[in-house]
Symmetry: C2
Subunit: 415 residues, 2 copies
């Protein structure tokens, strides 16, 4: 039996424990198990936003002489978190728009060819590809990966063997199962058939070490509002391997991607570096928040975060086996910690009403993912082992008591 004292002991030995104080914790009674959806507010971000707002008021348009560098500067700060080099990352737009820009650019560069993605991929990725395939008259093929283990190297290699696949889009960590894909192996297998892979790092960056350069990755995108703690709707990022930057052109030719932007020349000529993938005027407030979040990650160190994250999910799985499996829960994430990202998916036949009771009555914030998953994500930068214990304890308690049986089971809109 895993007692709460065990979790308390793990917290006492946690070298990252003090980072919790760097965040605003407005309600100590609330267990937050959704940092993989929206990260907490860093205290430094409050100050950064105040500073930036004051700068707008004081410097007015003159502030742009510095702000204009921010998309690349913040990208360079973020680069080590994802194993990218300087000048390979830019922070801008949304993940959706960045995915669209890079996928369209890759497709144009390859002069057509099929698109490949996982049938269970995150919705926006699938929808973007569906739109691109229709617009460009190319085929969109689906990998039918195991819903728990996620895409494996062999099936990507098999799909690319046809020789006509221009681009594969995959999540590094799967949004539902938390399955961690083998980025270097899949990238290499695709490259054998001259297929590019565009990695969506939204659910891995900041919780799992990513090494884009060592893994040979060509393209990547990701959001900053999960483990990077950039805030709701903060600007996303994109990565283009240095040798590909001159080859690719964004379909959205905007003035921030133009060489010598303020000469306002007659024709579009893309900037020399990663700036060419910018489009319109970047969100300066949003960039300030992303920068503050990234600095905290760098201070903690991605390797240390990963070690703690694995320990947090190991405890979640162990408690699931002891307390939840007897109540009809099924582990819907890889059991091997090495193949799992920062969150754990627990399937249950009536997951939706369980989630509602959990948040409304038990003061634990999970995520529901249709059709049947209670998703628990304990961001290692500020989550405690007792948070895991309390979340599972309250979850088990409500199901044991049958509190969810009175809840409306029709899946309404949830975030």
């Amino acid at each position: 039996v895993i007692e709460r004292a065990h979790a308390e002991a793990l917290d006492a030995a946690d070298g990252l424990a003090s980072f919790r104080d760097r965040f605003v914790v407005a309600d100590e009674g609330l267990v937050y198990a959704d940092g993989n959806s929206l990260g907490r507010l860093p205290r430094a971000t409050v100050a950064a936003l105040e500073r930036l707002t004051a700068e707008w008021g004081e410097r007015l348009v003159r502030g742009w002489s510095d702000w204009i560098e921010e998309p690349v500067r913040v990208g360079d700060r973020l680069a080590p978190v994802i194993g990218a080099g300087r000048g390979e990352v830019v922070v801008c737009d949304s993940t959706t728009v960045n995915l669209y820009k890079l996928a369209a650019a890759a497709l144009a560069w390859r002069g057509g060819g099929a698109l490949l993605a996982d049938r269970g991929e995150f919705p926006t990725d699938r929808y973007v590809l569906e739109g691109l395939a229709a617009a460009h008259g190319v085929e969109l093929r689906w990998l039918e990966s195991d819903p728990v283990r996620g895409p494996d190297t062999a099936s990507v290699a098999a799909a690319c063997r046809a020789g006509d696949v221009a681009l594969v889009v995959l999540s590094h960590v799967h949004f539902r199962s938390g399955a961690l894909a083998d980025l270097p192996a899949i990238t290499a297998a695709a490259a054998e058939h001259e297929t590019l892979v565009l990695w969506d790092l939204s659910h891995s960056a900041g919780a799992v070490p990513v090494d884009l350069v060592a893994g040979g990755a060509a393209l990547a995108v990701g959001c900053t509002y999960k483990y990077l703690n950039g805030g709701p709707g903060a600007p996303a990022y994109l990565y283009v391997r240095r040798d590909l930057q001159e080859e690719l052109r964004s379909p959205v030719q905007g003035w921030f991607g133009q060489r010598d932007q303020f000469l306002m020349g007659p024709e579009y000529e893309p900037a020399a570096g990663i700036e060419r993938f910018l489009a319109g005027t970047p969100s300066v407030l949003g960039l300030a928040a992303v920068a503050a979040g990234v600095e905290l990650l760098l201070e903690a160190g991605v390797e240390a975060l990963r070690r703690k994250s694995v320990a947090l999910t190991e405890l979640t799985v162990a408690l699931h086996d002891e307390r939840l499996a007897p109540l009809g829960f099924r582990l819907s994430s890889p059991r091997d910690g090495e193949r799992r990202g920062g969150h754990v998916a627990l399937a249950h036949d009536v997951a939706w009403p369980i989630c509602r009771v959990l948040v409304e009555q038990e003061r634990v914030v999970p995520d529901f993912r249709p059709p049947d998953v209670v998703r628990l994500g304990f961001a290692p930068l500020y989550s405690r082992f007792v948070d895991v214990w309390d979340a599972v304890d309250r979850l088990a308690g409500l199901v044991e008591r049958g509190d969810h049986l009175d809840m409306d089971a029709s899946p309404a809109r949830v975030t």
Copy 2:
């Protein structure tokens, strides 16, 4: 001779004068003549950002149950500023991305056809169209409008007469000259040939009344960081006439444009209303700032703002004639106030070094627009008539003294 006392008298009679106190004015000695590039910081925005940041900290991911409505809610608040109806405007992405989405959607809907824009159009609009024309294999034609008067109805009608023009993109107010286009007449002339017009309202909304519905406008985009005072890189907006919404599909198919987004269904099915033109996760901080800026505009009233704006530019032109024309300046904006937006373009052979001295030594912030324009924009919500007088006085003084002759005349990067 126009004395400063005349400007002081105009300020004393200004019914909008008290709105200046609603903005942060960090430096009373600075004359800000660039509110048409980046508006000032409203005091209410400081509070709104603090509130939103606190909400992120307290509600965490649960905040999305309200935030998710913000792109449409803020769009509905903004709608009266541009003469749109409820459910016709959404606030999201950048102007560049929105222009791309709507132009591509229109082109796909029309099944091809030529694109038409003004040779002197704002750079990002030209670049977006250039990219779309190349990607879709359609022709991009240029209107060669008078650089001061801007596009006129007859030349748009003549260009559309060929019958193969799918879409015209025009600015309502020209970014350099300030020329105000006749939106209803041009829209109607194009419609006779089944040509859609996409209006860029960036330089008009908030300074000039816009009546999209009465003018029969099909499509529009605009930024919020100029007269709407949304802050650097705040989210932009887009408008699609109600009857066209079901016809058009965004090329960037993102999860925020999906019907029943959180069912995460297998195929993209665009939402029923204006939401279908959303793409990725919207910037919640940015939306809060836009909302605060829009409320101030609504409180002042666009008609009152326009009356003051015309008076401000009339004074600028009169002072130009008296003080600047003798120094080699040329009015590069329409002389008729009815045909002019909220800013005035003053051309000079050595405009760039003049601008540098004006901002660095004389503490007046104008904009330089290549090759030869000093642009003065006095946003009517917070600018005073003495600001106009002081700006022209300092500008005349520096040129009379020849202070600009020592300045490096090579146009470096400017914003």
